[in-house]
């Protein structure tokens, strides 16, 4: 079948079933929008968790030039001797301290840049303001207090944090959003599958004379099925494109725009997802739509179009 002829057949099919095609576009759009939202919420969780989240329970941030107001940092930045003392103190707490890592200012700054890549605060934070730290893994995470009390206020230590306590609540919320969105997406995908199947059935009926002729003159099953599949693909890809457009608007104006300004205004420092995260998710959405269209229409064709 020549491309020009195929285009003509597809055009005829789309004209005959405009209403059904529009509904396939819309249902695909809504289902992929929810799916995209679920995936983006997961990316938001990943962004917030940062590099150390899964590895350590306690972070001991060391003094910088900017933290002189903290009593234990009165002497300015942490000194080499203080750093070594802290390391030997950590060794003294074994086996409660299972393992610890030293993160230099340079490494910390690189990770900070990655985590806050979509945030305007990035430009306002000088490299020196990012503290070096010891990241500590405990053999028993519930004994956080033991480590906290041992190091809080020690010379050269700005603060000891159990970051999880704060962010875990947010994660629970985001995970719930993600789960709800994916569940809705699942229901909508079922709608999409049923609608595509019904559309193909109707199209097959309105095109039954053409398909009979095709069959009789010896067209292959592929040739007979191709116009149906191309029509479905077009409708779902348009739906996917629209959903990506909606997600882009949500991320660009809603998160990167509104939410970031809101948080910055309140002095909050949270690494947020941006449109770059959407471009990582979008190929999966479009790919999913293509796969959905091909598999669903193929199955519907086997059922409704005799070859």
């Amino acid at each position: 079948m020549k491309p020009g002829f195929l285009a003509g057949e597809v055009g005829n099919g789309l004209r005959r079933n405009t209403a059904m095609v529009i509904s396939v576009v819309l249902v695909t759009m809504v289902s992929l929008f929810f799916l995209g939202m679920g995936l983006l919420a997961q990316r938001q969780v990943d962004t917030l968790q940062g590099y150390w989240y899964d590895k350590v329970q306690v972070s001991i941030f060391l003094c910088t030039e900017d933290t002189a107001e903290v009593a234990s940092c009165a002497g300015g930045g942490v000194t080499e001797a203080q750093r070594e003392q802290l390391a030997s103190d950590l060794d003294g707490l074994r086996p409660l301290v299972q393992e610890y890592w030293y993160e230099s200012n340079e490494e910390a700054y690189q990770r900070f840049r990655e985590q806050f890549r979509n945030s305007p605060v990035l430009d306002n934070v000088p490299r020196e303001a990012i503290p070096e730290s010891y990241r500590v893994q405990l053999s028993d995470p519930t004994k956080y207090e033991v480590v906290a009390s041992a190091f809080q206020g020690a010379p050269g230590v700005e603060s000891v944090e159990d970051q999880r306590e704060v962010v875990d609540k947010l994660f629970t919320f985001l995970n719930a959003v993600s789960l709800a969105a994916v569940a809705l997406a699942g229901a909508m995908v079922i709608c999409a599958v049923l609608l595509i199947s019904t559309t193909i059935r109707l199209t097959a009926w309105s095109r039954r004379r053409e398909t009979t002729i095709m069959r009789m003159v010896g067209a292959s099953a592929f040739t007979i099925h191709l116009p149906f599949i191309v029509e479905t693909l077009l409708a779902t890809v348009v739906g996917a494109a629209l959903s990506v457009g909606l997600l882009w608007a949500m991320v660009h104006y809603g998160i990167a725009g509104f939410l970031t300004e809101l948080l910055a205004g309140q002095g909050g420092m949270i690494g947020l997802i941006g449109t770059s995260d959407l471009w990582l998710v979008a190929p999966f959405l479009v790919g999913g739509a293509v796969l959905l269209a091909i598999v669903t229409s193929w199955l519907a064709l086997i059922r409704h179009v005799r070859v």
């Binding site: 079948m1 020549k2 053409e210 009979t212 002729i213 003159v217 010896g218 067209a219």
Partner: protein, 236 residues
């Protein structure tokens, strides 16, 4: 060209036999009328040739293919060897005469210049070269059937099946249609026409294969339709 070897056909369990132990051979370039009352098995015979259905028992051979062993992916190739004409024409109402005929070649992926050459040639064969731009509803029944014949023949198949092609036409037009089929037959195409049009069979005096209740009851060269009543089963 076409051979039925002891073919029995039953559409579904419990149904009566549509064909019973049918043995018939149709050679290359023959013209055969398949006659019989409604329900006698004429259409079933046609359907088995294009492999719309598979015979329950026995073998059907068409253009060198044993249809009982033909894999599904080879069925299109078989059908490209066969042109089919139906009683109800089955033209595409939104397409012109030319487009209806060209459709077959487009579906089969033929080149544009091949289509430009073959379609007018075929329309000339059926005498419709002047009506290429007409839509089906602007044509008489006879003309519509000629378009259907052109469509069946445009890919130059060696076999032409016609299932009651004159069933919807008046006697004069019917004769014209069969005359076209005869002309096509003279170019070497094997023509099998199912009919219960007495005068057509009597006028053209071709080989007659008569079916009754799914059995061949007569196979006669240059036969008449009336022979059914006179000779009955004994004629075979």
């Amino acid at each position: 060209m076409i051979a039925f070897e002891n073919v029995t056909m039953r559409y579904a369990k419990g149904d009566p036999l549509a064909l019973q132990e049918v043995d018939v051979e149709i050679g290359r370039g023959e013209f055969v009328f398949v006659v019989g009352a409604s329900g006698s098995g004429k259409s079933t015979l046609m359907r088995l040739i294009i492999l719309e259905h598979e015979a329950t028992e026995g073998r059907v051979l068409v253009a060198g293919h044993d249809l009982s062993r033909l894999p599904a992916r080879r069925i299109p190739a078989l059908r490209r060897q066969i042109g089919i004409v139906f009683q109800d024409f089955r033209l595409l109402s939104g397409k012109t005469v030319y487009q209806n005929v060209a459709y077959v070649l487009q579906v089969l992926g033929k080149r544009r210049h091949t289509i430009k050459q073959l379609v007018p040639e075929t329309l000339e064969l059926v005498g419709l070269q002047d009506k290429a731009k007409r839509l089906p509803h602007e044509l008489s029944g006879g003309e519509q059937q000629r378009v259907a014949i052109a469509r069946a023949m445009v890919n130059k198949p060696p076999i032409l099946l016609a299932d009651e092609p004159t069933g919807n036409l008046d006697p004069t037009t019917s004769t014209e249609i069969v005359a076209i089929l005869e002309r096509i037959n003279r170019t070497g195409t094997t023509v099998v026409m199912a009919t219960h049009d007495t005068s057509i069979v009597n006028t053209f005096r071709k080989r007659v294969v008569q079916l009754r209740d799914g059995r061949i009851v007569r196979d006669q060269a240059g036969g008449e339709y009336e022979a059914i009543e006179v000779e009955g089963v004994a004629a075979r």
